[in-house]
């Protein structure tokens, strides 16, 4: 066998370093009824939503809020693992850098940051510049906001500027996650509840959602208003989430 060139050696060494998408489990090996179900569900959802949403708001195969694609998985997702608070909150949830105040985050983000009065002033504020500016308000657990998968978080309120053509967040919802179209103060929204769903962050230049970072999220309300997508993740009911969303002005 011919000796490997340095470039070939580098390429072989690169192989184990590649962040491949997680390999699904194929056993027990059988054709998944849900593969058919998934297409049917998507077709039905698309038909229902197409009537309700503005043109372009439903991408093929996806539930869609501007800035976010939601894809239904054909299988239940793995149970969430508890995040151990060994690293800073911003680091382990990939929220960017800590900000001194909402006003400082708004100045960095370049858009008006809303604070939901129903939650009050956040305990921490984070700002991440890329791939799109995102401001995250973090609320510590308290009696009306029990901790979810992260012991230090009662609620996350994320706001990011979004263009319809450049989804920033991708969500993969397993079979145990209910997805519901909702109205948030007259604007389109989506509620995800039940089994945790995965969150994919960052589009690739080609527009694909790259599974750059995956974390499991709890009950989540997504909506869009005036060029900004809002995402409230909290261990609360849909009614409570809608109530909180209504106070974000």
């Amino acid at each position: 066998m011919a000796e490997l060139s340095p470039l070939e050696r580098e390429l072989f060494a690169l192989g184990p370093e590649i962040a491949w998408p997680p390999t699904p489990r194929f056993t027990p090996l059988r054709r998944r009824r849900s593969l058919v179900d998934r297409r049917l569900v998507i077709a039905l959802l698309a038909a229902v939503l197409a009537a309700a949403l503005a043109a372009g708001a439903v991408a093929a195969g996806y539930l869609h809020v501007p800035g976010v694609n939601i894809q239904r998985s054909s299988r239940p997702l793995p149970a969430p693992t508890k995040n151990l608070p060994t690293t800073s909150l911003g680091e382990r949830l990939d929220l960017g850098g800590s900000e001194s105040s909402v006003a400082a985050a708004a100045a960095d983000a370049g858009f008006g940051v809303r604070v939901p009065a129903g939650l009050g002033q956040p305990d921490q504020v984070f700002f991440k510049a890329a791939p799109v500016p995102v401001v995250t308000l973090v609320y510590a657990p308290r009696p009306d906001l029990p901790a979810g998968s992260d012991p230090d978080v009662g609620a996350l309120f994320m706001e990011f500027r979004s263009a319809d053509s450049t989804p920033f967040l991708g969500k993969l919802a397993g079979t145990g996650t209910r997805i519901e179209q909702v109205s948030v103060g007259g604007t389109q929204g989506v509620w995800l509840e039940g089994a945790p769903h995965e969150v994919f962050v960052e589009p690739s230049p080609s527009g694909n959602l790259a599974p750059d970072r995956v974390r499991l999220a709890g009950n989540t309300l997504l909506w869009y208003r005036d060029g900004v997508t809002y995402r409230l993740e909290a261990n609360v009911t849909k009614e409570r989430a809608l109530e909180i969303a209504g106070t974000a002005r």
Binding site: I18, P22, P24, F26, A210
Partner: protein, 206 residues
């Protein structure tokens, strides 16, 4: 940027061992048992080649959901076609040929022209000596440049390089996975490597 470190369920070379009767069985033995109707034996093969089949499909589809469908369908078809499989032939290239076909069918059906995006997951492998911060940064930069050069290759070249080096397929397996003759694999590899070399040199000197 945080990059996800995926679980290392099994190496792509299929190092996960079947443990039927407490000893690892080679592919041939598992195929023979499967042909005699042993469901567990075929599931061992599926477990052994899940990563490889899924990643091979992913290289063609550039889409994880399509790759999952393609790999699943390939395993199902392989099981069904096992009766026609030559018992002494190697299982891997045979499976990879089916996977490749399924993946290309899905890509065509979806009408996609998405570029494949690969990312490095981590700064070093477990067990590597901890590099100095400077060395780590340089190594990470070099990896990023190489990945970026790989992404800029034409799809045919990129696929052949990814199969041969990233998935460590041999030439025959690469040919099977891509549905092209071995001679074409070799010529594409040679040209692809030359382009990569030029790009990497331009990156160093530019």
């Amino acid at each position: 940027m945080h990059l996800l470190e995926y679980g290392n369920r099994s190496g792509v070379r299929g190092v996960e061992k079947a443990t039927v009767e407490g000893r690892p069985l080679d592919d041939g033995e598992l195929v023979a048992r499967s042909r005699r109707g042993d469901e567990h034996a075929f599931e061992e093969l599926v477990l052994r080649y899940s990563d490889l089949a899924f990643r091979t499909a992913y290289l063609a589809t550039a889409n994880a959901a399509d790759a999952e469908d393609a790999a699943l369908e390939a395993f199902l078809k392989a099981r069904q076609a096992l009766g026609r499989f030559h018992e002494n032939a190697p299982f891997r290239p045979w499976l990879l040929r089916i996977v490749g076909n399924e993946a290309r069918n899905r890509r065509r059906a979806a009408g996609r022209r998405e570029g494949l995006e690969l990312k490095a997951a981590r700064a070093g492998r477990p067990g590597d000596a901890a590099p100095s911060p400077e060395a780590a940064v340089l190594a990470a930069e070099r990896r990023a440049e190489l990945l970026s050069a790989l992404e800029r290759l034409e799809p045919d070249f990129r696929q052949v390089v990814a199969c041969r080096y990233l998935l460590e397929l041999d030439v025959a397996e690469t040919a099977a996975a891509l549905g092209i003759p071995e001679g074409t694999v070799k010529s594409r590899l040679s040209r692809a490597l030359e382009r990569l070399r030029q790009q990497m040199e331009a990156a160093v000197h530019g």
